[in-house]
Symmetry: C2
Subunit: 296 residues, 2 copies
């Protein structure tokens, strides 16, 4: 736990510095840059980039500049998705992490462009990094798949369409697997690849990510259903207002809590399997990231 | 001229097929796919992908599948930019190429996602192509630079900001160099790289692209100022309504026509320089693409 706090406090400023430096250097319009930096600086848990780094640490590898670049690229993609999701035509949110959303500050047009810019910049950052060419290509393949029309963008479309009708549990799982699961999966795969792990281990990391991603979404639904606006820093009860299918809605509060526990347990099991496959694997940080999703 | 018509008629279906196949295979949400294909099928001159292919032909190289993939990726980025530009928060256009704009048919939320999807898919398509890894990385570097916060997205932000005040001729040139010039430059650079040309020749192609891009924009401004809606298939006189700085606005109609002629002449000059550097270079198709911008 102490190790995790140290890891987090050590890593966060470096991830943020990497995003900030890149945007400052590679953006040639002042207001566009301000809009991008505003959302980058809006904080958040940095869950995805920390996962990349935690996976690399887990194999006792030194984390280098290009690892931070991949982590930063992933967080830039997550940030773009939040900016676009908050737009009036999408979820129409005024607050994000307790602050006015991007379009509330910069206007809708600049918010759309700030999102487009962050998405494009993420690929640029990986493309110019010092990673070996074949590995870089593999990372760009995986990132575009996770973020795009087989992943996050498809999940977001499914989520919108889910507002108009009730989804089954399988349909809901599919939407979430794409909408939030795909980027979480990328984080673990990227960590394994950057830590030079064999395919067998990278695949196990991907399976761990699937349980982690599902737990993440169930927790998110539970928080929306049970927290106050002050606790979350954004509007709550939105899912109900938007008539969205959710885990608590389909399973009840208790059923959703049980489903969350089950995913945490399955995720912990996979960490054990990785340890058996790869004896140098230290699961502590990844277990800690998983345990953060346990209900208090 | 006959060669050009043949080249165009031969190339267009293959570019379109490449985009369509990729979207069909790599999109896992039905309505998202429909929205993406709608704008891909809305036609247009396919100016940018034809430039990629024309540059490859110019060096007497056979055009292969992965060349079409790069051309298709570029057109997908152009198409995403049109979908987002047409949104109510941006240019608020109801018609594009004589058809209702994407958000008029699919709603704003899906139009935003279709744009995000096409942008991400463009990088995915280049990343999975059969191009050698180092060349692929170079193409992704150039494409992300041209499309992103140093290129098209920055130009679009500058263009929006230009609606609120008068731009000088230099500021206007800078906006256009980024907004339309950068992707046109990418087309020529990519063609030279895919045709395995030395840096010296690729640089000359880039210089040709700059004149071509500027001519393209002046022509676009002139058409907006002088055509009818039926001729253009979209609203005309929009620049004036939006109070946009334009070449005819800054130079007068005759001054803008002269500026267009000058760029065409400079572009033709560079084609001659390439011929002197690289004797196998056949400038005919590229000259024809340039000449299409001459006023009738």
């Amino acid at each position: 736990m102490e190790a995790f706090t140290e890891f987090r406090e050590q890593s966060l400023p470096l991830i943020e510095k990497e995003m900030e430096n890149f945007i400052n250097e590679y953006t040639s319009n002042k207001r566009l840059k301000e809009a991008m930096l505003y959302s980058i600086h809006a904080g958040g848990k940095r869950f995805r980039p920390l996962l990349v780094l935690a996976a690399i640490y887990a194999f006792n590898k030194e984390v280098t500049t290009h690892d931070y670049q991949v982590a930063a690229a992933l967080e830039m993609i997550h940030t773009y998705s939040l900016i676009h999701d908050d737009l009036p035509a999408m979820d129409d949110d005024d607050l994000r992490r307790g602050k006015p959303t991007n379009h509330k500050v910069f206007g809708e047009a600049h918010a759309i462009l700030a999102g487009d810019g962050l998405l494009t910049a993420a690929f640029q950052l990986v493309a110019i990094s010092q990673i070996e060419a074949n590995q870089k290509v593999l990372l760009i393949q995986l990132l575009s798949k996770a973020a795009g029309t087989q992943g996050m963008v498809a999940g977001q479309a499914g989520d919108l369409q889910g507002e108009q009708r009730s989804l089954s549990l399988n349909e809901l799982a599919d939407v979430h697997e794409k909408k939030t699961g795909a980027l979480i999966e990328f984080a673990l795969l990227a960590g394994g690849i950057l830590a030079q792990q064999p395919k067998e281990v990278v695949d196990l990391l991907g399976r761990f990510a699937q349980h982690l991603g599902l737990a993440f979404q169930i927790k998110d639904d539970l928080l929306d259903a049970t927290s106050s606006e002050a606790e979350l820093g954004k509007k709550v009860g939105r899912d109900e207002v938007l008539n969205k299918s959710t885990y608590p809605g389909l399973l009840g509060l208790n059923g959703a809590k049980e489903a969350l526990e089950e995913q945490l347990s399955l995720g912990n099991g996979i960490l054990e399997s990785i340890k058996q496959t790869s004896p140098e694997f230290q699961p502590d940080l990844l277990r800690e990231l998983l345990e953060q999703l346990r209900l208090g």
